[in-house]
């Protein structure tokens, strides 16, 4: 008990320290990078440059050569100016994240990074979770995508985004860590079942069921315009038809075989397949039932549910 108490205190202590450190170290997203959170780190080439300046200075001293003195001083001054220019290259850049719309486990997610600044910036390097990218800010905006690996299903917290620049000579690295609370919701890796489900009965159906009228929008086919309605009311409307649902079915966790992750993967693949076929489907997971539905929203709801399905419960159930 005592030991456990100590452990929690230590943990919270460390946590606090970690939080403090994060606050001190990392700038926040969607805000211009402030001075306090830009860090200057000399590169190996920068150290070599320092040695070069010293060598040239010794050369000037020993040969009493004023031009050598001059060049040594100039290269030193260039080193100083480089620090300033590199620092200004990163100062005031506003980093923003654009989360990928979908990410499946076992592949990669394209995390969009948007950098904004009032003036042009050059050669900003981004690093997040092993992925790298390079951005130039032109006309106030620069964006790129980082290919993040998504090894496992579930909620994946993203580490700090590192924005750095070695512009203009590569002598110093100006680094800023950007903290953010973005999380990736990684959907399961879709796995096709051994025997493909035959449900193409409804293929080739056309939208024939009259579903109602809506206000005319430019681009609507003239054949669909409700001319009679127009002659009567003077309001231009368009007839809307709906595609009849092809199949109505339930995807059931209990009906799948294999370990929990595999079942989720199979369900994922089936959600994708049924969505593609335009079916109307519901999802039954232990402890969660998703009503039948269709369309993009249903697909997203179903995949999100699969992604959030707690691993511990699945193990318990298994």
């Amino acid at each position: 008990m005592n030991v456990a108490g100590l452990a929690t205190v230590g943990f919270s202590h460390r946590e606090r320290l970690h939080h403090w450190w994060l606050r001190r170290l990392a700038a926040s997203v969607e805000q211009p990078l402030p001075q306090r959170q830009l860090f200057l780190i000399p590169t190996r080439f920068g150290l070599g440059w320092a040695v070069l300046v010293v060598v040239l200075l010794l050369f000037g001293i020993n040969y009493q050569n004023n031009l050598a003195y001059g060049l040594a001083f100039w290269l030193f001054s260039v080193g100083v100016v480089v620090v300033l220019r590199g620092w200004l290259n990163l100062l005031g850049v506003t980093p923003g994240l654009r989360l990928p719309r979908e990410a499946f486990a076992g592949s990669e997610a394209r995390l969009g990074v948007v950098l904004k600044a009032r003036s042009d910036r050059t050669a900003l390097e981004l690093r997040c979770d092993g992925a790298r990218g390079r951005v130039d800010i032109v006309d106030g905006l620069g964006e790129t995508e980082l290919a993040l690996p998504t090894p496992r299903r579930g909620i994946q917290a993203l580490p700090l985004l590192r924005v750095e620049t070695r512009w203009p000579l590569g002598l110093v690295r100006v680094v800023a860590w950007v903290r953010h609370d973005a999380e990736l919701l990684v959907w399961p890796h879709p796995v096709e079942e051994d025997e493909p489900v035959a449900h193409h009965a409804g293929a080739g159906l056309e939208a024939v069921d009259f579903a109602g009228l809506r206000r005319f929008q430019p681009g609507d086919s003239p054949g669909r315009v409700a001319w009679k309605q127009w002659s009567r009311t003077g309001v231009l409307t368009t007839k809307v038809f709906s595609v009849p649902p092809r199949q109505q079915l339930w995807l059931d966790y209990e009906a799948c075989r294999g370990d929990p992750e595999r079942r989720l993967s199979v369900l994922c693949a089936r959600v994708l397949a049924h969505h593609q076929a335009g079916d109307r489907y519901g999802l039954r997971l232990p402890g969660l039932t998703l009503a039948q539905g269709e369309g993009e929203a249903q697909r997203r709801r179903a995949l999100d549910a699969l992604a959030r399905f707690p691993a511990s419960r699945s193990e318990g159930q298994a």
Binding site: I61, Q64, Y69, G70, A72, W167, P168, L169
Partner: protein, 703 residues
């Protein structure tokens, strides 16, 4: 727009894999190598150009054909043949030239194994070192300008390596770097203390000037006619008249029948069995002369030479630094000069007055049986002048003036054993060396202590007052010991007085012989007026550069610092008198107050200016207004245009609603309506007023 820009982002320095160098980057590095090599080319073997082309060609073929990288064997063979070639060229690798050649060769060969960003940076750094080493050859203005170009190019290569995306961007960044760092460089250059060499380094071999420490009339048929500069001098106070410009360098006191040679203090001490310090002493003031009678005070800008000689106008008296004063009234530096340097020297302008250090006998020594005809002539003249040395010397000089003696820069060669006889009685043509040698021999034959002095006569006066003395100004004359002082005798002045007055080029047959060794010298154009003026302007510039920048060593730094401090003191005193209150504290306080007030005013002016500029920009105004609204909880929806945002929130804004509506209308008209400039201006002002009104009515946002 962005797409268009990104298509222009061509030629990245580093390939897409993040490591390999692109062909364009290799070309950059190669051009940098060419620029650095060009700095060395005048002093280094020309086959280095071939090496550069060979390496670049190899890389080109390798890139085009996709051949594998240069293997270790090829690289070793390349380095081996480089070393061999340098060894064949210089005979050794230990000399400075050999070392510089090795550095350049390695720099060029490094391109063979330059494959990634790191390699490229190493190449650039070696290039910077090689540029610095080029300053050992020369530190003139052309060299400095060339080095600036090379350094700018190398920096630009580094900018490419750090991810520049376009030519303009790379050069703009380079220009910023150079321009922003220049002031700091200048401050460091001026204030950094100048130290002596920390340890000895291998020195460049320097060709000596035309001046030698032994002369043998007739051996070499031609006088040095190079136009290389020997030294430059500017005088504080009076300039010497043309007939006074005798720069003494060496005295030659030993004659073996054919040649006059110099006896160094060490040789004299060994020969005469006396301590060395009877002949030479290291001092700041000459221990041999009294300091009175300092006629000239000159600042000499000396060219590098492998011997430590220093010229002095007449007898050297004192300098600012330690020198070796020789008892014969000449001067040596402690070390040879490896680069141009400044020396201040005051000197008497006339031959020394101290008694012959080696004793009078030493200056009467002659080989017994040499030159019998001259001896007979000397005996005859001695008898005719009634054994009076002064009359004898006068008769001797007069004889040089009368007889068919001719001054020529290309006299016939003399090869006989009795050179003076051959010259005086057969060829009867020669230049200063012949006449000086004959005169000194004849003086010694009459028992008058005499020596030959080698040095320079004359010099070209630049319009800004400094004198340039060149190799072809080299001269030899005689000093004889009479009445307790050395006396100058210049037989050349009798035969060719115009040589003394106007320099070598004035001598009759000088026209084609003069400058025979310097075919393309700008001095050949001295008849063309504008060309001559141009040359003199250039020389003046070059002199100031050498004095001010290259000669900026310990002394000049100290005096400049002293001057800066005195200026500061003076300014402080003036300020002290100007500002109210007494004492340095109150002055400092008022100074700080003034500065703070000035800075505050500048800041206010800057803000006002920015504000004014923003008032004229409706986009900024609306952005400002939207930000203000957002802080009141009336933020725009994503994708909403500014005008519709203002319209939407107008009903919720209470008293500011009407102003908001008007803002929206003005904004739309400014954005879409084709307006005259005057009306546009008026609308902007109205918009600006409305925005101010909205802000006022809404009040400060609650946080």
């Amino acid at each position: 727009m962005r797409a268009l820009r990104s298509t222009r982002l061509t030629m990245p320095a580093v390939l897409a894999d993040g490591r390999g160098l692109s062909g364009g980057m290799l070309r950059q590095l190669f051009i940098g190598q060419c620029l650095v090599l060009a700095l060395h080319l005048a002093w280094m073997p020309a086959w280095l150009v071939g090496l550069a082309l060979l390496v670049a060609g190899y890389r080109l073929v390798q890139l085009r054909r996709g051949l594998p990288r240069a293997g270790i064997l090829l690289r070793l063979a390349a380095v081996g043949s480089l070393v061999l070639a340098l060894w064949l060229q210089f005979g050794t690798l230990g000399s400075m030239d050999g070392l510089v050649g090795l550095l350049l060769g390695v720099y060029l060969l490094k391109l063979l194994e330059t494959h990634d960003r790191r390699d490229a940076r190493v190449v650039v750094v070696i290039g910077l070192v090689a540029t610095t080493v080029a300053f050992l050859h020369d530190q003139g203005i052309p060299m400095a300008a060339g080095a600036l170009l090379a350094v700018a190019w190398l920096l630009q290569s580094l900018v490419w390596l750090s991810g520049a995306t376009g030519l303009r961007q790379a050069w703009r960044e380079t220009a910023w770097l150079l321009a922003l760092s220049a002031p700091l460089m200048v401050v460091l250059f001026v204030t950094f203390p100048r130290l002596g060499p920390l340890w000895s380094m291998p020195q460049m071999d320097r060709a000596s000037t035309g001046l030698t420490d032994q002369i043998s009339p007739g051996d070499i048929a031609q006088l040095s006619r190079s136009d290389a500069r020997a030294f430059r001098a500017s005088f504080e106070g009076r300039d010497p008249a043309p007939g006074e410009r005798y720069w003494r360098v060496y005295t030659l006191s030993h004659f073996d029948g054919i040649r006059w040679s110099r006896a160094t203090p060490e040789q004299l001490a060994a020969t005469l069995d006396r301590p060395v310090d009877a002949f030479v002493r290291e001092a700041v003031r000459s221990p041999w002369q009294s300091p009175e009678g300092a006629g000239f005070s000159a600042e000499l800008l000396l060219e590098p030479d492998n011997r430590p000689w220093r010229p002095s106008l007449g007898t050297p008296l004192s300098s600012e630094e330690l020198q070796r004063y020789l008892a014969d009234g000449t001067l040596e530096g402690l070390t040879p000069l490896s680069s141009r340097s400044l020396m201040r020297l005051s000197s008497s302008g006339s031959p020394p007055t101290n008694s012959p250090p080696a004793g009078e006998r030493w200056y009467r020594l002659l080989p017994e049986d040499a030159n019998p005809r001259t001896r007979a002539l000397a005996e005859r003249l001695w008898r005719e002048s009634g054994s009076d040395p002064d009359a004898y010397l006068e008769a001797m000089m007069a004889r040089f003036g009368e007889a068919p003696y001719r001054y020529t820069l290309s006299p016939p060669r003399l090869v006989g054993e009795h050179r003076v006889d051959d010259f005086l009685f057969d060829s009867q043509a020669g230049y200063c060396t012949h006449y000086a040698s004959a005169a000194a021999v004849m003086a010694r034959m009459a028992g008058i202590p005499a020596r030959v002095v080698a040095g320079f006569l004359g010099g070209e006066r630049n319009p800004d007052g400094h004198f340039t003395v060149r190799d072809y100004d080299g001269h030899a004359w005689v000093e004889v010991w009479r009445n307790g002082a050395w006396q100058r005798l210049d037989p050349t002045a009798v035969i060719a007085p115009e040589r003394v007055e106007q320099g070598t080029q004035a001598v009759d047959d000088g026209a084609e012989a003069f400058l025979a060794d310097a075919r393309f010298s700008p001095l050949r154009m001295r008849e063309v007026d504008w060309a001559n003026r141009l040359r003199q302007e250039w020389e003046r510039l070059e002199y100031r550069w050498q004095r001010g920048v290259i000669g900026y060593q310990r002394e000049s730094r100290r005096s400049l610092m002293a001057q800066l401090v005195s200026w500061w003191r003076e300014a402080w005193a003036r300020l002290d008198a100007l500002l109210p209150g007494r004492g340095s504290l109150s002055t400092a306080l008022s100074l700080v107050t003034t500065l703070v007030v000035a800075a505050g005013l500048a800041l206010l002016a800057h803000r006002g200016w920015r504000h004014r500029r923003r008032q004229g920009d409706e986009r900024w105004l609306v952005g400002h207004l939207q930000g203000w609204l957002a802080r009141h909880g009336l933020a725009a929806h994503p994708g909403e245009s500014p005008a519709s945002h203002l319209r939407r929130v107008a009903p919720q804004a209470g008293p500011a609603g009407r102003a908001l509506e008007e803002c929206a209308r003005d904004l739309e008209r400014l954005a879409y309506a084709p307006l005259e400039e005057a009306e546009r201006h008026q609308r902007r002002r109205r918009l600006s007023n409305r925005v101010a009104e909205v802000c006022r009515r809404l009040g400060r946002p609650r946080r």
